[in-house]
Each structure stands twice: as C-alpha cells, then as structure tokens.
C-alpha cells in the first residue's frame, strides 16, 4: 500500500477450533491513518490482537516495524492499543490508570506523561473520581490516553469512537488525523462507513474473516454507491407504480410480491427516492411503506466481496 510499511500481515489466518476468525489475510500499512472497516464479527479485533502480539496467528506472519510482536516484547514500546472492551480497572482514577501504563512503558516521569496524555483527550488529570463513575465516552477517552501516553509510532485503535458524542468524535478524529500526519502509523477499526470517511483515505475492508478490499476510500465509496440496491414498496397500485418507475428510468428491475408489495432494483437509490412520491401522486397510488432492503453494512460488504 505504501513504500514504508510499518505493519505487515502475510497470509495470516486465525482459527479457534472449527471457527475461522481470520482467513489468509495479507496487507501492509504505512504512515498515516488507515481504517479497517468491517461489520461486527468480521475478524477486525482478532486481526488487531495479532498485530499487537496478543494472539498468535494460526498461520502466516505479522511484522510490526520489522519485528514479530509476539516474539519480541520490545515492540510493545512502540505500539499503543485501544482495545474494544469497555472494562477498566475499577479501583483506579483516570490519572492512576494512565500513569500505570506510562510506568510499565518505562517512562521517566509517568505522572507528567499521564497528565499530558489526558489533556490531549480533553480530560482533567486532577479528577479524583474512579473510572466506573465516568461516562462511556469519558472511559473511551481514558483508553485512548493510555494508548498515547508513551508516544508510540504505531497506534492500533479498535472502535475508538464508540460511545463518544458527535463533538467528542470530531475531536478524536482530528487527533487521530494529526497523529497520522506526524508520520505515525494509525490503524483504526470501525463498522460505521461514514465514520471511516472522516478518518482518512486509506482503507482495508474485512468481511467474514477475509480481506475484501484495500485501497483508497473514495474509490471504494464510489463502488459501494454504484451497487444495485433493492427497495421494497407497499402500495395499493403496485403495477402502475412499477411501470411508471421503469419508464422514468429510476428502476432497473421490478418484482411483484402479492397484491400490494413491489420490490424495485435501482442503481441510484437517491433518484428513486426523489421520483417515488411524485410518480405515486400522478398515478393516484397510496404509499404504505418504503423500505430499503440490503442497505445495511453487511449487504454493502457482501457486494464488495462478490465483486
């Protein structure tokens, strides 16, 4: 993907008994922000655990900064991880938690480093409340602070925007972009397409344990937007409506299901949405229900994988 890969996965597979979580995945990631996109259960977290040396690949190899993170503990000094799980050390304050991380990374002044990391994520280092009293969004930011505290050159962020409000998301995305802009390798997982769009241009798509696509986000987005979509419409005049929409060119395929249900295939869902109400009005058809089928992320990924 880039001329200077920091993370390299070569034919990596991971299985747990009969369950294949990751299957023959290869990619490399360089400086900047790269998004790992995929629906829940796609194998993103398992992939991240292997990138950080927390899990051993069943097959294949992972290299971070040229080293095997599983075999070489010193690589951990250069990796910051925000894990997906929400649990935190209950007896600790945010400052204590981040200081612990700094201390275990061997920093000279763990307290000062912790304060600085907490300020980067807009949290008050002098807050004496324990972590369980924090909101989900605040805990998420504490997790980001503990990943940043030792100034790592590789940041692995597993769904780091979960639980944040829109303002916090914006700040966090800006922080990740800034860190990527400084030459760090920032790899961020998400199952939300729009979230990924704001993160950066490089994207890896995982689906059902496999790497479905890799490359520039905008190309992928165009591919996704161009895919045929199916819309389900319930109306009292399905035949008239179908004929008119095909005639107008907004529907490329039609299927009637009973007396009221119509399934329309379109390549431009937005145009169809705009055309539907006027056409229905013209034909005196009542619209009871309009429902996009296969519009979830899972469907999008299926389409990309099939291509």
């Amino acid at each position: 993907m880039t001329s200077e890969p920091r993370i390299v996965a070569e034919n990596v597979s991971k299985w747990f008994g009969a369950l294949v979580a990751v299957s023959d995945v290869s990619f490399d990631v360089g400086p900047g922000v790269t998004a790992l996109l995929g629906p829940n259960g796609a194998g993103k977290s398992t992939m991240f655990r292997m990138l950080c040396g927390l899990a051993r690949p069943s097959k294949g190899a992972v290299r971070v900064l040229g080293r095997d993170p599983r075999a070489d503990a010193s690589v951990a000094r250069s990796i910051g991880l925000v894990p997906q799980q929400e649990s935190v050390f209950e007896p600790l304050t945010a400052r204590e938690f981040v200081t612990l991380s700094a201390r275990l990374q061997g920093l000279d002044d763990p307290g000062a480093a912790a304060a600085s990391a907490l300020e980067k994520v807009h949290l008050d280092p002098s807050d004496t409340r324990r972590l369980p009293s924090y909101s989900k969004g605040m805990r998420q930011r504490v997790k980001v602070a503990q990943a940043l505290v030792h100034d790592p050159s590789v940041l692995v962020l597993d769904e780091p925007l979960t639980g944040l409000d829109p303002r916090q998301r914006m700040d966090m995305v800006a922080l990740f972009r800034r860190l990527g802009g400084e030459g760090r390798c920032v790899i961020v997982s998400s199952h939300v397409l729009d979230e990924v769009e704001r993160l950066g241009s490089q994207v890896l798509v995982m689906s059902q344990g496999r790497l479905a696509a890799a490359g520039d986000f905008h190309e992928l987005r165009a591919l996704m937007d161009d895919r045929p979509m199916r819309i389900r419409v319930r109306t009292d005049r399905p035949r008239e409506l179908a004929g008119a929409l095909v005639e107008a060119g907004t529907a490329v395929g039609v299927r009637l299901d009973g007396d009221e249900v119509l399934e329309l295939d379109t390549r431009d869902a937005r145009a169809l949405a705009h055309a539907l109400a006027p056409v229905a009005r013209e034909r005196a058809a009542r619209l009871y229900e309009v429902h996009p089928l296969d519009a979830d992320l899972e469907g999008v990924f299926r389409y990309v994988v099939q291509r």
Partner: protein, 247 residues
C-alpha cells in the same frame, strides 16, 4: 522520537514488579473479601478462646490451628484471593492493558503470588497466632505463624496458577482443598507428603509438647518444600501466560 524507531527502553524489573504488585493489591482488597476472610479469622480467635478452657490447652490450640486453620482458613482464603488475582483480569478482559508492555511475562504472575501472600498472611496467619496466644499456648503461636505463613505462600503459587489455567478456577480449587487437602492427606500413610497441609503441619510440629496429627516430613524439609510449591505454581502460571492468547 522517529516514528519508525523501535524504542528498546523498558522499565526496571523493580519498577514494573512494584507497579503490578500495587495494582493487584488494590484489585484484590475489596470489602466483601475483607469481611469474609476477616470473619473466618475471627472464628479462629474464638476457637482459641474455647481451647483455653481445655485441660491441655497447648494441644487444643495446636489441634485448632491444624484442623481449622491449616485445613480451612488458610486454603480457602488463599483460594478466594489467589484465583482472582489474575483470573479476574482474564475474565474482565483487563489483561490486555498489562500484556502489551515491554515487560517480561514472569513478572505479573510473580506479583500476583506476592500480592496474594501479602493479603492472606495478615488475614489468616495473624488470627491463628492470636488464637494460640488466647489459648495460653505461646509456643504454639510461633509455630502457627510459621505454618500458616508458609502454607499461604504455597497455596498462593498454586491458586494464582489455577486462576490463569482454568476458567472456573474457584470450583477446581474448592475440589482440591476439600478432597485432596482434607481427605486424601489423611487417607493413607505417606499421602501427606503430597499435600500442602501435610508440610505445613510439619512446621506446626515445631511447637514443643504437642502431637500433630498430620506430618509430611521434617520441619527443615517443610521450609524448602512449601516455597518450592509456590515457585512451581508461579512457573506454571508464567508458562501459561506466555502462551495464552490475550483477549
């Protein structure tokens, strides 16, 4: 710092070991645990009070320490704390925060054994010592302190290892304490040699003029065997931790 550089610095052994130790102490010391184990310790003192009225109060105190103290109080308290030391981190998926660090893997299990031992000794060995003193058996008190402390050390190693090896470690440990330590140990001549309670009882036998029902060997050997069991447990925990996938 260059963004491509692998930084090889890591914390000194003492710094990371103390950090793990302090964290585990804080996660282990909870009010329900303190009340539960403290209550069992208070019961030991009460038994000591009853022993005072026995004709041979020293023997009664030794019986109480051997039966209740080494058979129930010490193993159950250590089981509760030891299995949770790392076991809770695994269950709560918190181990990830301690594992992705440039720190050798042996340190966390070592800290867990030390933290468990640190909490268990004041909650078990001290009440047993007080129980012997209350019974008027000062000589038994010293032996009780030694026996309970060394037993706590051995159990700490075993139960910390169990916490990382088994998902329902408390139940496995419970079966071990009830069946192996409290039935098998007494079942046949020589069986005590393969139990913690047998070797701990050997230390209790250091008290003069008391008969200890269960002795695995000499007190000198017990001073070696019980720490060796703790070390074996720590090595088993480290071995497992090194190979485990961390959630």
């Amino acid at each position: 710092m260059s963004a491509t550089e692998v930084v090889s610095a890591r914390p000194s052994t003492l710094v990371s070991l103390v950090a793990f130790y302090k964290l585990l102490l804080r996660t282990q010391i909870t009010i329900p645990r303190l009340l539960g184990i403290g209550g069992l310790g208070a019961l030991a003192v009460l038994i000591g009070l009853f022993a005072r009225f026995d004709e041979n109060s020293a023997q009664a105190a030794a019986d109480a320490v051997g039966g209740y103290g080494l058979g129930i109080l010490v193993p159950f308290a250590t089981l509760w704390l030891g299995t949770s030391a790392i076991g809770d981190l695994v269950e709560d998926k918190l181990l990830v925060y301690l594992s992705l660090k440039p720190v050798p893997r042996w340190q966390l299990p070592a800290a867990a054994v030390l933290a468990t031992f640190t909490v268990v000794v004041p909650l078990t060995a001290l009440p047993l010592t007080v129980a012997a003193i209350v019974a008027g058996a000062g000589d038994v008190a010293v032996a009780a302190l030694l026996a309970a402390s060394f037993a706590a050390l051995a159990y700490s190693g075993l139960f910390v290892a169990a916490g990382i090896w088994f998902r329902r470690a408390v139940w496995w440990g419970l079966a071990f304490v009830l069946i192996w330590e409290n039935v098998v140990a007494y079942s046949a001549h020589g069986a005590a040699r393969f139990t913690v309670i047998g070797w701990a009882s050997s230390l209790l036998g250091l008290a003069p003029d008391v008969d200890v029902q269960l002795e695995a060997g000499s007190a000198a050997a017990a001073f070696v065997v019980l720490p060796a069991i703790a070390i074996a447990g720590w090595l088993a925990a480290t071995w497992r931790y090194r190979r485990a996938d961390i959630d």
